[in-house]
């Protein structure tokens, strides 16, 4: 029996568009459209996609930082979508998030000690003064920052260090699951690898489960055991990392991977170049949303939205005319 720490069923988030003199709803953006997936305890599910795909909205909806419009989020067997504020607060001990922008995610007026102690204050953890201080030192240790960090302010640190502080904050309440929302995208390349290593070490030491959202496919593929690809609010393919790279079935996935510039000048790029722009989520194309840019598109693709095909137990995709594998 697989132990799924998280099961997401038919999650939808729509943002209404108001218009007209009376501000009535004239349309909606389906940022997240009927998404279902599950994550096993201790694994890392990567989530990739380009602008407008909904991955950030999805990540934040899982923690109800954005309230879902419909669907279920089942964490440790319990549907958290309908929990009241008190119960949700308890749940927040187990589910945490790390944001992309290390400059915007720390309150510039608080000391690091204050920032790290706050979650413990809210949940009344490690109540003694001595206990709390030891816990703070322990957290700093886990993210490899020195003890004198506690008295300093965020503006005294670099991007990579601030991101470590954000990780420490997420760890303060001893969570089980962390949504990593583009945690390394805003960092310098040499620092990215350090933070990725840190996240991987912490996962091993503390038994954490991650949802790793990013647009850098190389990093996602490296850290994740499985990867889900999103396009315009839908998950269009999910597979284990190695399955996806070599054997992507959905044309968009293949195009996405082939678009990445490889750091090897000797490799001749037989690259698939997609035509046109990423459509706006306000006005998605009919049928399969990808058909206007798809070289494999058939008439059916223009009219009917594809159902899920199970390629294997770990590999699913939504496509009428998938890539043929040799």
């Amino acid at each position: 029996m697989t132990d799924n720490i998280l099961e997401v069923r038919n999650l939808t988030k729509r943002f209404p568009i108001k218009g007209g003199i009376f501000g009535r709803e004239v349309g909606a953006v389906k940022a997240v459209n009927d998404v279902s997936f599950s994550i096993k305890r201790g694994e890392t599910l990567g989530l990739v996609g380009e602008s407008g795909c909904g991955k950030t909205t999805l990540g934040r909806s899982l923690l109800r930082l954005i309230e879902p419009t419909a669907g279920e989020i089942i964490f440790n067997g319990q549907n958290i979508v309908d929990l009241n504020a008190t119960h949700m607060r308890e749940m927040r001990r187990k589910m945490q998030i790390i944001f992309q922008d290390p400059y915007a995610s720390l309150n510039p007026r608080m000391t690091i000690g204050g920032i790290l102690a706050e979650p413990m204050e809210i949940h009344n953890l490690f109540p003694g003064k001595e206990e709390r201080r030891n816990r703070l030192y322990q957290l700093l240790d886990q993210v490899q920052l020195p003890k004198d960090t506690l008295n300093k302010y965020p503006h005294e640190f670099s991007g990579g260090q601030r991101q470590r502080i954000c990780i420490a904050r997420a760890l303060a309440v001893e969570p089980e699951f962390i949504v990593c929302d583009e945690p390394v995208s805003a960092l310098d390349v040499s620092v990215q690898a350090q933070v990725v290593n840190l996240l991987m070490d912490l996962q091993k030491d503390l038994g954490l489960t991650y949802l790793f959202i990013a647009h850098d496919l190389k990093v996602v593929e490296y850290i994740s055991s499985r990867v889900a690809v999103m396009y315009l609010g839908n998950v269009i393919e999910v597979a284990e990392s190695h399955e996806l790279y070599g054997g992507a079935r959905h044309p968009y996935t293949k195009a996405l991977f082939s678009a990445i510039p490889k750091p090897n000048p000797n490799v001749h790029m037989d690259r698939i170049l997609l035509e046109g722009d990423i459509p706006s989520p306000m006005n998605p194309p009919s049928g399969c949303h990808f058909h206007p840019r798809c070289w494999n598109a058939t008439d059916k693709c223009r009219e009917v939205y594809p159902e899920i095909t199970n390629e294997s137990e770990t590999h699913q995709y939504k496509c009428h005319n998938p890539i043929r594998l040799n």
Binding site: A193, E221, Y222, E240, L256, P261, P265, N266, L273
Partner: protein
């Protein structure tokens, strides 16, 4: 600086025309904490039809170098403290400002990272392309300018250019806006295009389109490109020659194949290795990524000796100051490294 010319002779590439030569460029910034040297003695050459990549992370000085070529360094607090920038043999740092203006956008053009903020939101894209023509090709009539603008939009692959020419930046997607920026920069058929992180803000499938477009236009129009980026993948794809910058200095300089195949500076090697590659084994069983320890030092607080000493796995006492800074020296044919112990 004849190493590139000799390299080309060796490779059988015809003597490409040299259009830009930067010699010992030094750029300083005055702040209330003191003066920092953002660019400290940089040398390179740009040839027609070739792309030079300048790679570096924050604080490396790559963007400041690009801005100095166009004399766009804000003064105060910055200033070019030394060196020459020779465009077709003439030092652009010495010429009067109105002569510089006639070069900007006309002979040397630049595209930036954020197309939304580089385009003026209150003018149509057509107007903005026409403005470049108005400034530098005064002999054209309004009608001719509009026609040329439409032609440029077509050249950069924008569909229905006759319609798009009347649209405003906010009506276009990020990829489209970057194409418009490219159209603006190429309207006067410049000799050199400076591209400062042109695809960093774009989605990866759009990035692929833009890089492909730039390569195609370079083949058609023959300009030299300076590609400034932190993404080694982009460098591998698009550049012929590469200069790696760290703390305001070039630490390694060679052609692209040699750089990736046989990096000699520990920083270059570290950067290349810290990129996760797709050839690794299945998830979970992957080891840690090789990293460069530590952080880029603050430009206010550079160590004496080699700037990279505190992060280098091969550091020795020699690197820490007694011999001063290492100099950029040739280490093999066509490859220069700034290191006391270049990797073998």
């Amino acid at each position: 600086m004849h190493w590139i010319l000799s390299l080309r002779a060796n490779k059988g590439i015809g003597m490409a025309e040299k259009i830009l030569e930067v010699k010992d460029l030094v750029v300083e910034f005055r702040t209330d904490r003191g003066t920092i040297t953002a660019v400290n003695g940089v040398n390179f050459e740009v040839f027609k039809g070739q792309t030079l990549g300048i790679v570096g992370e924050s604080g490396s000085g790559k963007s400041v170098t690009a801005l100095s070529i166009m004399r766009l360094i804000p003064n105060p607090p910055g200033r070019v403290a030394g060196g020459e920038i020779l465009y077709r043999g003439q030092n652009v740092l010495d010429i009067p400002l109105d002569e510089m203006r006639s070069i900007r956008g006309n002979k040397i053009a630049m595209i930036f990272q954020e197309p939304m903020t580089s385009l003026n939101p209150v003018f149509t894209v057509g107007n903005q392309i026409e403005e470049v023509l108005e400034l530098h090709q005064k002999e054209l009539s309004k009608q001719q300018r509009t026609e040329k603008a439409i032609e440029m939009l077509k050249l950069v692959g924008i569909p229905s250019p006759e319609k798009r020419v009347h649209e405003y930046p906010h009506q276009l997607s990020g990829g489209m806006r970057q194409r418009v920026m490219i159209a603006m920069s190429l309207a006067c058929e410049p000799d050199i295009l400076i591209a400062d992180e042109p695809t960093t803000a774009l989605d990866v499938t759009i990035q692929a389109q833009i890089l492909e477009l730039m390569k195609k236009l370079q083949t058609e129009m023959g300009m030299g490109i300076i590609m400034i980026t932190h993404d080694l993948g982009v460098v591998a794809e698009t550049c012929d020659d590469v200069a790696v910058m760290y703390c305001g200095q070039i630490v390694e300089q060679s052609d692209v194949k040699t750089l990736f195949g046989h990096p000699r500076h520990p920083y270059t090697k570290g950067l290349i290795e810290s990129i996760p590659s797709f050839d690794s084994t299945t998830g979970g069983a992957k080891g840690r990524l090789p990293t460069i320890e530590g952080m880029v030092p603050s430009l206010f607080d550079l160590p004496s000796g080699c700037n990279f000493q505190n992060r280098c796995a091969h550091v020795t006492e020699k690197c820490r100051g007694p011999h001063g800074e290492p100099k950029l020296e040739p280490v093999s044919k066509g490859q220069m490294v700034r290191c006391f112990h270049p990797l073998s």
